[in-house]
Subunit: 394 residues, 2 copies
């Protein structure tokens, strides 16, 4: 493990408390802000727009190009540690910042594996960690060989730039015309077996520079069209043994890649009862949003504690069941009246609204409920999310 | 009850969500910011300093004189509703804003009773609500009569401007030289009997313009030198009947004074098992801070929901016991190392740090713990608060 540079808070801060810089002005930075305020640490956000989700709620905002070295340097100059609400900062910029002496958490070396799915597969496979079978076809001409090795259909992914189901294709046969599409992006392509999975799980852990780590309860993540729509904590019916395996696997990945901060390991639970690593994210993650209301310490607070090398908080659940549902936008005009209705209907519902303009399919916010009866809790969040999205109430 | 003006969100906001303006940049506004972000409503803060507690964490900050009409008008122009993190805005300014057509919640009429203890005593006594026996001595020459009526010692309070034990004197006899001091402030003086109380309680309620109200569990508030140091939710050993009486009393006060938003009613539980109203605050209150971690809906969120006429959230406790302790500052240099120690010692401890420069006796933040065993929970917060304040760990 790489030795982590020590943080030296400057004397200019109140009580000597440090400043965390977060690159990216999305909802993850927005939800980090309350955790920073509670901890009393500074939070500076770099956003490409003053109207982005986090830009609307943070005091120390730098508007600039997240992919431009000059802007990122100007931003980082005021920070004790720099972290990220997405994976889109180019590797050259990350390396330049580290060469400048800035403390990146996670570091450029770790982030490379969150940015490049092919590099991630190579590294995890080499470390003996369970992944779907995969190949690296150089062009569409290699697909028949990939299909022979992995079976049809194949899942093709651009190694960089995909999220929420973008950059993923399912190819049914060697002559499927979809097979040529991934190669047009001009980045390497990863071919994977299509895993016969029972469901998707997510194991979220936080890890400190000095190696302290905590593991959140393993959750079930329900996807629709490649987008997470619902998370149930803990994953219903998951055996203690498999839950522990998933947590241990996530901790191994974190240690192997020297991740500092949050790491979300998205997993397939196979029909045979095994686990395979699907995707990684080295930041607070949609599958951890339940922790704001459902855990002793939210993933956002533990991300900050980890990147600041502060002792980590308890990741324990506070309720028997916590369910989170994303609200995907449909109809702008109906939002505020629908929101009033939803608050009136369920006084114990918790809401996080991201302050974004509505586009169809865009994540506008999420709702969370908790309690002792899973069916009841799930019905409450599904109802609220559907109503907020403009669908008819059940 | 006065009819409340309707809120008309402007079209310029994301999704038509309204903007709440809060006058005052202290820790109450700071802790309101996360609730506003979660609800997706705008929060604009008027603060007399860009370095105040809330000023450090809100995006929409107006720096200006909270007691100057021009500045307050400039601030209010961007808000759908104006509320307060303290009681110090002069009544003339409140009335001028209402005359301009601004929506103040609570309104100027209600706030007058939070600003003037003598007016509050007169109004509550006239409404038959239980208060300590009181008189309104015009000068020190009236003190012997007050003492005869109320018994010695007397408690004298300036009707305006006091908080955290300031503006309060105990006068032991007619010839006690302290008796002259309150009259030097040039504001009316309230004389009260010194109540023989068993302990202090606080009943916090939220009330909407249309009259919906919720009552938080009644808490015990432990004071030292007139400053709240610890709050236990719910108040240990309080009978259901007395708890219900306290909640009903607070709801009556809220309705009687037409309070909109949070109302904290500080109560004496007398040695005879009765309740007397001590003080009122029409805003989130120190005795409600436990609700951030301990209740389904925090007092800050319910204050926003109330002033926006949104349906109120459940005030239910999440744990058997929740205890909050204030951290009163002693030693600046020791704060950050002490803080690391405290986080390491108790991973389930919750902390709210106010981002203020340290002065002896100033509230720097608070710590909260919850659980099933009151002695354990109380020991955890006392230990943490003492350590953070620079005292020796027990």
């Amino acid at each position: 493990m790489t030795a982590a540079p020590a943080i030296s808070p400057t004397g200019s801060r109140v009580g000597g408390f440090p400043v965390v810089g977060m690159v990216g002005g999305g909802q993850l930075a927005r939800m980090t802000a309350p955790a920073a305020a509670a901890l009393g640490v500074g939070l500076r956000v770099l956003s490409d727009s003053a109207h982005a989700s986090a830009a609307r709620v943070v005091a120390d905002l730098v508007v600039g190009d997240e992919r431009g070295l000059a802007d990122v340097r100007r931003f980082a100059a005021g920070c004790d540690v720099v972290t990220f609400d997405h994976e889109h900062v180019p590797g050259e910029i990350l390396q330049a910042l580290e060469a400048d002496g800035h403390v990146l958490r996670p570091g450029a070396g770790a982030l490379a594996y969150a940015q490049d799915k092919l590099a991630m597969r190579r590294r995890l496979s080499a470390a003996g960690l369970p992944c779907p079978a995969w190949r690296a076809p150089a062009s569409a001409a290699d697909l028949p060989d990939s299909g022979t090795a992995l079976g049809w259909p194949l899942v093709l992914k651009t190694s960089r730039g995909g999220y929420d189901g973008r950059g993923v294709w399912t190819v049914t046969a060697a002559d499927d015309p979809a097979g040529g599409q991934p190669f047009r992006a001009g980045v390497p392509v990863l071919a994977e077996e299509r895993v016969d999975f029972a469901r998707e799980l997510s194991a979220v852990v936080a890890r400190s520079p000095h190696g302290q780590a905590v593991a959140y309860p393993v959750v079930e993540s329900v996807q629709r069209d490649g987008i997470c729509v619902e998370v149930v904590a803990p994953a219903p019916g998951l055996s203690d043994a498999l839950a522990e395996s998933a947590q241990r696997l996530a901790l191994q990945v974190a240690a192997e890649l020297d991740v500092v901060g949050l790491l979300a390991v998205e997993l397939f639970e196979t029909t045979g009862g095994g686990l395979l690593v699907n995707e990684l994210a080295m930041r607070p993650h949609n599958s951890g949003h339940w922790s704001i209301d459902g855990a002793v310490t939210s993933q956002f607070e533990n991300h900050l504690r980890a990147v600041l090398d502060l002792p980590l908080g308890s990741p324990r659940s506070r309720a028997t069941w916590t369910v989170m549902a994303n609200v995907l936008g449909i109809d702008l005009a109906e939002t505020y009246p629908a929101y009033r209705h939803v608050l009136a209907r369920d006084p114990a519902l918790k809401l996080q609204w991201y302050g974004k303009a509505v586009h169809p399919g865009r994540k506008l916010g999420h709702v969370t409920a908790y309690g002792a009866d899973l069916d009841d809790v799930r019905a409450r969040v599904r109802n609220a999310a559907a109503y907020l999205a403009g669908a008819i109430d059940e």
